[in-house]
Point group: D2
Chain length 119, copies 4
Amino acid sequence: MNTDDPGLTQLRDVLRKFAADRDWDQFHSPKNLASALSVEAAELLERFQWLTEDESRNLPPAALAKVREEMADVLNYLVRLADKLDVNLLEAARDKIVVNAQKYPADQVRGSARKYSES
Amino acid sequence: MNTDDPGLTQLRDVLRKFAADRDWDQFHSPKNLASALSVEAAELLERFQWLTEDESRNLPPAALAKVREEMADVLNYLVRLADKLDVNLLEAARDKIVVNAQKYPADQVRGSARKYSES
Amino acid sequence: MNTDDPGLTQLRDVLRKFAADRDWDQFHSPKNLASALSVEAAELLERFQWLTEDESRNLPPAALAKVREEMADVLNYLVRLADKLDVNLLEAARDKIVVNAQKYPADQVRGSARKYSES
Amino acid sequence: MNTDDPGLTQLRDVLRKFAADRDWDQFHSPKNLASALSVEAAELLERFQWLTEDESRNLPPAALAKVREEMADVLNYLVRLADKLDVNLLEAARDKIVVNAQKYPADQVRGSARKYSES
């Protein structure tokens, strides 16, 4: 991991110990971690599935607390997977933004974004 | 965001500018961002879907590069969603680990983890 | 499979041949098929992620054609998984509706559905 | 729907009544239904996430019962979405198999399937 994210590095270490203490590394193949991450991302989506976009911008405290928990689960599995694959998450994220900037030049997509899929 | 993650804070700021430059905030309701995050998590899973667990531990460089890109997409949408909802990701992650530690006490789940669903 | 779904039974048989012709059964463990199904469900969701609910009710022909393709992919993997696990899909679906009817009695959830998560 | 799937047509009708009785059509925009389907597909995947491929081929009865329930949820949302978009699921599935057969000719992908991503 990179020195500009002591928080992520510490999180990685806490997660290593958590799994080791429970003898769970045997289940933490990248394939399984990617599955678990995907499941958590869906649990996050589930908090919004029947809400309108406006309602999603104005979550009551209890609903926001649940969303926050699911976001935490996603981050934890992402950090765990990054650890197993030796991926520097922040570096990867920055690199991808550069790729996206070339894929979606601001002067071309601005204002007519509705025609462009962001993925 | 918290002061122990200058990297995540900087990523948040880059993503704010990226969306603003393209007039894309209109699409970035939390509901839509949660959908996009879920879609990227599935694109990450897709890299592993036909691999065995062992193959997933030994990805060739080209495959790893693709996995790294999808992980970046997941982090970027997670940071974007956290920004819109004013969620401190690292704090949320740490809080969730505390909850998980109580839910899965090491002395109870160790060694017989196969019987316990981790979620 | 059941005699009230000759279409699903025929689809199952076509999919069996498709996989056998390509020697793909080796990859079709239930675990892998569930992953693939999840990935296709996300590709379906992707068609809607930046649309408003109203736009999703009024898809232009080209967009609808893509949605139709992704729905086909989901059904194909679902039928394939049902085949491998010997699950009667229609029977399972009917049984689940009975469970849901007890979980969400019409007289209790009608009109105030917004407070109830449907899952 | 098509006449070769009386089962699916009947399922569609039961689901129409179920939603109407609860005044839930207001939530059943295609965008929301696609989200719900994706969430159920992930709940299905969750049943397998820590299992090996072999374990997934030999599910104990209780585990299989849960998998069957999640598959039912996926089918129910798929049929509901097909209804809202007037998509003939079986026809779409058959059309997609034809497309896939051209994309993955048996003589080219047989035996070396591991190099080919099926999506």
